[in-house]
Amino acid sequence: MTALDLSPAPGAVPLPRMVLAQTGYEVRAMLRNGEQLLLTLIIPVVLLTLFSATSLLDLGPGERVDFLTPGVLALAVMSTAFTGQAIGTGFERRYGVLKRLGATPLPRAGLIAAKTLTVLAVEAIQAVVILAVALLLGWSPHGDPLSVLALLLLGTAAFSGFGLLMAGTLRAEATLAAANLVYVLLLAVGGVIFPLDRFPSGVAAVLEFLPIAALAEGLRSVLADGAAFPGGPLLILLGWAVAGLALAARFFRWE
């Protein structure tokens, strides 16, 4: 029998160390999860490669890869910040993991910080893979990197807010179904791979206000057209981010 010193020696490590430990744990769990990888890496890369290398879709003038890369980047953000986070957190809530972690020294704000860092870390991996594939396919990016970063961060905040709102209010099975449905719908009508201007103009004018469309169009205006500051898309994303995070903060239930 192994001797264990069970005598009390309580004490927590500083908060940043707890947050980093939780982040490392969550990133490893995400990268090991086959369904998550399908959603976050394989589908975006397949869409990018397939539609860049073939003329299955009429994407308008210009290189197809220049049109597709910003859309696929937006899709990648949505898949991680919204779909993956909603499903993962929904099941953690259902199985009492959030409650269990609530009994450890890691505070709730620390857990949210770790989840945010996890999303950003996975997005960084996605961006590296997608940009590398795009460059191989002959992509030539333009524009201001800071605008790109601002769009990605605000898009992440908007999608995270609604992902957590869904995870914290619906049953886990309902979250699973709804998050996948929203993913497919927004993929189809959000200007990711099908240009918005193929929709009737009245419909397109409404679709432009979707977070995925604002992110895809904003990234496209900078990366493909070299626009300086995509004010409209940033404003739309800011609106979604504020609404989503406020609703999540108000309605999220931990158990």
């Binding site: 192994t2 264990l4 010193d5 005598s7 020696a9 309580p10 939780q22 609530g102 009994a103 020294p105």
Partner: protein
């Protein structure tokens, strides 16, 4: 009453309702530091609600709660590192490897136990890389216990720690609980197994319908009274047996063929019973004199079976 410093948990007039139904209804109890306190009661008695209020997961509707002298909700930040929690089930991600989750929780603490040694101690070493959902129910329970104690807490709350365990795993859990107590850790656990409470606890609090119906050491609760039990063929004439016994004795048959004699249990009484049996050609089996069990105490206090 002990001064507050000696108390791991102090609850006064605690009340909690779900909808209109009271789960906890004016419950007061004390759990001393360095002791194992068992909350014993049938399912639905309010044990889990009580323990979850102590853990800070729920707020009481009324009453005061002190855990290590602090308020579990208002002082949560200060209390979490000092208190270990084993919930009734789950709480570990289904896809997580057990050892990995244990190391994660250990990494939140300043001087945690060695995760590998703890897993080995609980017989889980070869399952360290198994996803939680593929562990058996008993293995999941033991991992959950490991997570509760890995941070070297001063106080642990264990909600039904041995439910679903095979006898061997149950004894391993009991051994660890005793070792925790011997190392100076306060333990508060819930159980509906009276033998668990009897064997493990320094202090037993019997809870029924959200209230404390009795508390004390197992010996205090079961008292000094002894009783005589034996088995024999069904439907002996107990009226006649009682006539042979000293006044104030009682005898009953329940279930058929199982007999219980209560009264002033001196050697003469035992001799009278066996002589009466011999005179009637009755061979007794399993004849024994024992103290009352907590089961008897519970039945007496509430009129119901503990396992009912």
């Amino acid at each position: 009453m002990a001064p507050p410093d000696d108390l791991a948990v102090a609850l006064d007039d605690l009340a909690k309702r779900y909808g209109g139904t009271p789960a906890v209804d004016g419950l007061s109890l004390r759990a001393r530091r360095g002791e194992v306190t068992a909350l014993l009661g049938p399912n639905g008695a309010g044990k889990t609600t009580t323990i979850e209020i102590c853990e800070g997961f729920r707020r009481a509707d009324a009453g005061t709660v002190r855990v290590l002298g602090r308020d579990p909700v208002a002082d949560a930040r200060a209390l979490k590192p000092r208190v270990g929690v084993m919930p009734q089930s789950g709480g570990v991600p289904g896809t997580a490897r057990g050892g990995e989750f244990l190391r994660l929780v250990a990494s939140f603490h300043r001087a945690p136990l060695d995760s590998a040694a703890l897993l080995e101690r609980l017989g889980l070493a070869e399952h360290a890389r198994t996803p939680f959902r593929r562990l058996s129910g008993g293995q999941q329970q033991r991992l959950s216990l490991a997570v509760a104690v890995v941070g070297r807490p001063e106080l642990v709350f264990l909600d039904e720690p041995t439910t679903g365990l095979d006898p061997q795993a149950r004894h391993a859990t009991w051994d660890l609980v005793r070792e925790l107590r011997d190392a100076g850790v306060s333990v508060v656990l819930t159980t509906h197994h009276m033998d668990e409470a009897e064997r493990l606890a320094d202090h037993v609090v019997i809870i029924d319908r959200g209230r404390v119906v009795a508390d004390g050491t197992p010996a205090e609760l079961t008292g000094a009274e002894r009783q005589l039990r034996f088995r024999a063929r069904a439907a002996l004439d107990l009226e006649e047996l009682l006539g042979a016994l000293p006044p104030g004795s009682a005898a009953k048959e329940s279930p058929a063929g199982h007999y219980l004699v209560e009264g002033d249990l001196r050697p003469e009484l035992l001799a009278t019973v066996t002589a009466w049996c011999a005179a009637h050609g009755v061979l007794t089996e399993d004849l024994r004199i024992e103290r009352r069990t907590l089961e008897d105490v519970f039945l007496e206090l509430t009129g119901r079976e503990l396992r009912g």
